[in-house]
Amino acid sequence: MCLGIPGEVIEFLPDQPDLARVDVSGVKRVINVGLLSDELLEPGDWVLIHVGFALSKIDEDEAAAALSFLQGIGQAYEDELAALQESRIE
């Protein structure tokens, strides 16, 4: 029920303003984007899809920030592991 997955907006349906075709990993489906009428959705934007509706526009900057934090953690971990290894050689 919480199931929401990211998809990319491909195009809007010409005669139906609330409907857009999205792509999820090569699979395409028409969904209702009426809940995002305040956003200026464009093809290429990513949205969160839940029971046939787009609930939220994915903020790519935030996503990048989240990823860089995670990668940083990973890198810091690597560095620490390396430091740990080195400190044994005495």
Binding site: M1, L3, H50, E60, L70
Partner: protein, 375 residues
Amino acid sequence: MRFVDEFRNADTAHALAARIAELCEPGRQYKLMEVCGGHTHTIYNHGLEDYLPEQITLVHGPGCPVCVIPMGRVDDAMALAAEPDVIMTSFGDMMRVPGSNGSFFDAKARGTDIRMVYSPLDSLKIARQNPDKRVVFMAIGFETTAPSTAMTVLRAAAEGLRNFSIFCNHVTIVPAIKAILDSPDLRLDGFIGPGHVSTVIGCRPYEFIARDYGKPVVTAGFEPLDILQSIYMLMLQLSRGESIVENQYSRVVPWDGNPVALKAIGETMELRPYFEWRGLGFISHSALKVREKYAAFDAELLFSVPGVRVADPTACQCGEVLKGVLKPWECKVFGTACTPETPIGTCMVSPEGACAAYYNYGRLTRTRVKEASRS
């Protein structure tokens, strides 16, 4: 898959796990509750508990909207489905929830016209295609799903459809969290906050948890790294003696939620004075019903439902599992009389229920897991 795969990196997970372990005070036990059924599912699906130190226990909360539907309401839904010329439409999760006389699935075997749909819009389509039938949509879910139901009702109204209605069982998350906080049975240290509910209601509604109860809250995404990072953020707050609301899922959750969605809900629905939750009892202002303006789409008004309050079976301990007081395997009938095939309560039947998740995915002690991965 973009925005999914990047949040499943195993090396980063190890790094986060190490950080989390560092933040644990020696000798102290931590209990963190994940509210969302979706989070419970991810935790078991990806074996996340393997990454956490023994000091941290994850407690599964009541954020499974199927799990909290009391038997009486299921019976009401079955009664609706049994009405002549009715096509009942429902999400897959509801199909096996047991009422006093079986589930939708059983009724279907007996010949009742019950159809599984992926979206309320599919239900609308069925209504359009079957003008001589009355189509009822079983509307369940927290605030995540309510906007979609609301938009569907607005669509139906705009099209002047006369054969479509909803049986509204939408519930709201904050009263459930408050009931947990006020419960004497449980002492929690922090909350892994609801993910997709927050895209609609935002993060402000959780501020009272941090402010009045002193528990940190981190709104979390649904990928394994999201949850690990959220646990890390919670542990950081706990180690500093802080309690605020943070948003780990910021790529999807806006701090102020989705005003268009909230408006759609507000236009079509209003809060019920009280509603019964399985296991938590009656909670005031915790559920939605259709507004009078849209009465033509309210199945409870168009049909007469029994509306009888049915107590849970004596053997069922779903209530305690939903509150996090019992772990699934501590329930007396878990895995023996109550299995996914033969569920007694909703925690076992819903794919997001703690019992189902544990039975289907997590049903091994940690020692056995280690043995197997070594052999």
